[in-house]
Amino acid sequence: MRPSEATTEWLKTALEGDGYIADQDIIISIYLALRLAKPLLVEGAPGVGKTEIAKVLARVFETDLIRLQGYEGLDENKALYEWDYQKQLLRIQILREAGLAAEESDLFSEEYLLERPLLRAIRAERCPVLLIDEVDKCDPEFEAFLFEVLSDFTVSIPELGTIQARQIPMVVLTSNSERELSDGLRRRCVYLFIDFPSIEKELRIVRSRVPEASEKLAADVARVVARVRELDLRKQPSIAETLDWTRALLALGAEKVDDALLAETATLLLKNRDDVTILREAAGSSDGFVSEALERGLGQVGGPAGVRGPGPTK
């Protein structure tokens, strides 16, 4: 299947076949990004499966995943290409010792070119998935450079000439909203915001990723995690942590979740001492934190994202 021929139904089946449970928003956004050949900008809280989208796309289209991790100080040399300075220097030394002069064209040839992720994506034989992770951590200058590359997929290397991409790679950019991205970058992208999953979706994720867990345990886990996300925490538990917790409960031979078990295993869900204390106190109070969580319907969404008021007080 070529990316530009994918249909929504095919995508949905393929992603689920790979264990990525996607709702309609995710499917449509990916579909549009592929069909319109535009980058997909994914935002959302940490651990809701942003990076996973790129990985799963690479798997379903059986192609390479080229990853560029964003960080402050990332520049063109690290992202696009660099000349192998040491190797060039060695070459000059060897030639000099042999009594020959170095030709400039010899030194600036493919042999001395260090390909970085962006150039690799542009020169790839098969249409790759290019993941630019945490693009919000890059500097604004790099972002400007990035959207220039992303809009025409051509690179000019003065010594070699202009390189045009054989095909437009599937580009996935992820952001944790540490910094506002520029309008220019947003404008060029198809946008997807992933919230924490609803209880129902999380249940399906748990069932798909941890098939050994019983239906009952998985449902308990999804409900309790949704309730935990409503506490005023530094960081809400991510899907990865939900899965770890489920596996831990399985290892402990648990059939269902109760307050004591939640307090004992809280460190798997929350990775911050203050947060763990808050959760243990909530589970330790006599209100029955878990039993209250278990009474809920499946449709409710977990923790709302972004800046928000505290969850419902009980």
């Binding site: 549009l32 540490e178 309008d183 946008y191 915001f193 204390t277 008021g309």
Partner: protein, 493 residues
């Protein structure tokens, strides 16, 4: 996936054109709601809806959302706009009709008001805004005004000559009431000139501010109600935490702006026979700023100060040190009082302290400072005068700062002054401010007066010459000022 019921709006004979027109109208609605949609995105949206199944409403919605909305917090607004705009024709008709009725009622009331506001049978000369304000008054207030007019009309020896006098009294009264009411009212948006679009926009303006956290973020800090204080405190802590993570990330060593370090390069390349094989670089050191807060606590400034202190102290993990001073007539250092237990305290105790802050009615610890620690004389001043700015003496406070705390003023100190600029001896204060400026890296002034009022106050322009003045009366302003004002200055220029 269950197929959605086909949207009755979409399938029509002259399909493509209608679709385009509808989309463009929808984009206009979004722009009026403040969502920045540009033509390139509109084109994308057009291309996108041609790719999805138009029979499925949710698919169309998802496609438009992916191409037109580029920020998570705009999603709810977009969804409501979509629901209202692509509503069933009969629903839309009903809303347009309802809006017409509302306008009609208003027009009638205006006409009535004109006949009610008379002096000895002559209608008063009032502007349409003043009459409009009258119609918005409660029944009791209207009654009172009518009584006043009736009584003065029937007064002894009162004749037509008194009309201008009566008019000016009524005008002044209505103008004042109008200003008070407008404070609560949302501003009217410009009309699009298309009735059905206006209806959608009107229906959405109220909705835009529904999210409680968003509302608090954009509310004047002095208007945050007691019941909202715990939520406001949580919000402040969350904002501060987010900003602190962001700021502290900026200290990581930078790979940019590096310069070759010749000495180290040569030394380390001696083993390669002097060929410069392994280059060494040196970087500029990035220093964290110190923050020094000077907060006005006179009169109604106290509330702002409490919130701002709470916020700044939430940043302590990102900045090297925070010093806090409050002043009205005298300067007092309150750093120890505001500082919460440091990271060395056991987590349980810290959680307790944090909860106390949440539970305490006004931004917790900060309130204790403002109320509890004011020096006797200063407090008397604050309590004795309810007039704004009276008893505030910035000049004296800055003088004291320079004299007694000069060791706290260094080239990497960012001074943040929180005040509404109303002070005694403004000219002297401005002179001392100019003396303070070269001693520190930057002076930021958080002005709690709305920017629109700045022109009325001479002091704003006076201090504005020396300092960076920022409008800051909502939490959103505060977050923005600190993010841009302090965050940007982490690197030496």
């Amino acid at each position: 996936m269950n197929p959605d019921p086909p949207s009755p709006d979409l399938p029509t004979p002259d399909f493509a054109r209608q679709l385009q027109e509808n989309l463009i109208r929808f984009v206009r609605v979004l722009r009026h709601l403040g969502l920045p949609v540009n033509p390139a995105e509109t084109l994308d949206a057009l291309a996108a809806i041609e790719l999805v199944d138009l029979g499925r409403r949710t698919e169309v919605q998802a496609a438009l959302r992916a191409t037109l909305v580029k920020a998570g917090n705009q999603m709810p607004l977009f969804d409501r706009a979509f629901d209202l705009f692509f509503a069933r024709p009969e629903d839309r008709q009903a809303r347009v009709a309802e809006r017409r009725r509302a306008r009609e009622t208003r027009r009638k009331r205006l006409a009535e008001a004109g006949t009610e506001l008379v002096f000895q049978g002559q209608p008063l000369e009032l502007t349409p805004e003043q009459i409009e304000a009258y119609t918005r008054l409660g029944e009791i207030q209207r009654e009172r005004l009518r009584d006043f007019l009736a009584e003065s009309s029937a007064g002894n020896k009162v004749d037509r000559k008194f009309q201008p006098l009566i008019e000016s009294i009524v005008r002044g009264h209505l103008d004042r009431l109008r200003r008070e009411m407008d404070g609560e009212r949302r501003p009217e948006t410009a009309s699009t000139g298309d009735e059905s679009l206006d209806t959608v926009i009107d229906g959405l303006l109220g909705a835009a501010t529904e999210n409680p956290a968003d509302r608090l973020l954009h509310l004047d800090m002095k208007d945050i109600a007691e019941v909202d204080l715990p939520r406001a405190t949580t919000l402040i802590r969350r904002l501060a935490r987010r900003l602190a993570t962001r700021l502290s990330r900026r200290y990581r060593e930078s790979h940019k702006r590096r310069r070759p370090d010749m000495r180290r390069t040569i030394r380390s390349n001696i083993r390669h026979g002097g060929v410069l094989f392994d280059l060494r670089f040196r970087e500029r050191k990035v220093s964290r700023p110190r923050l020094l807060l000077i907060c006005d606590v006179s009169g109604s400034m106290a509330r702002y100060t409490a919130f701002i202190l709470e916020f700044i102290f939430g940043l302590r993990q990102a900045v090297r040190g925070v010093e806090a001073f409050i002043f009205s007539e005298e300067l007092e250092r309150v750093t120890e009082l505001v500082a919460r237990p440091g990271p060395s305290a056991p987590p349980v105790r810290r959680a307790d302290a944090a909860r106390q802050v949440v539970e305490g009615s006004l931004a917790g610890a900060a309130r204790r400072v403002v109320e509890g620690s004011l020096a006797g004389a200063a407090r008397q001043v604050v309590e004795g005068s309810r007039v704004w700015g009276k008893g505030t003496d910035l000049g004296a406070a800055l003088d004291a700062l320079l004299a007694e705390h000069s060791r706290r003023l260094t080239r990497d100190t960012v001074v943040i002054i929180v005040s509404d600029t109303k002070t005694l001896g403004a000219d002297k204060a401005a002179r001392i401010l100019a003396r303070l400026k070269p001693k520190v890296r930057e002076i930021l002034w958080l002005n709690t007066l709305p920017r629109v009022d700045w022109a009325e106050h001479r002091t704003v322009a006076l201090f504005g010459r020396t300092v960076n003045m920022h409008e800051c009366y909502t939490l959103a302003h505060l977050e923005r000022v600190i993010r841009l004002g302090v965050g940007r200055r982490f690197r030496p220029a």
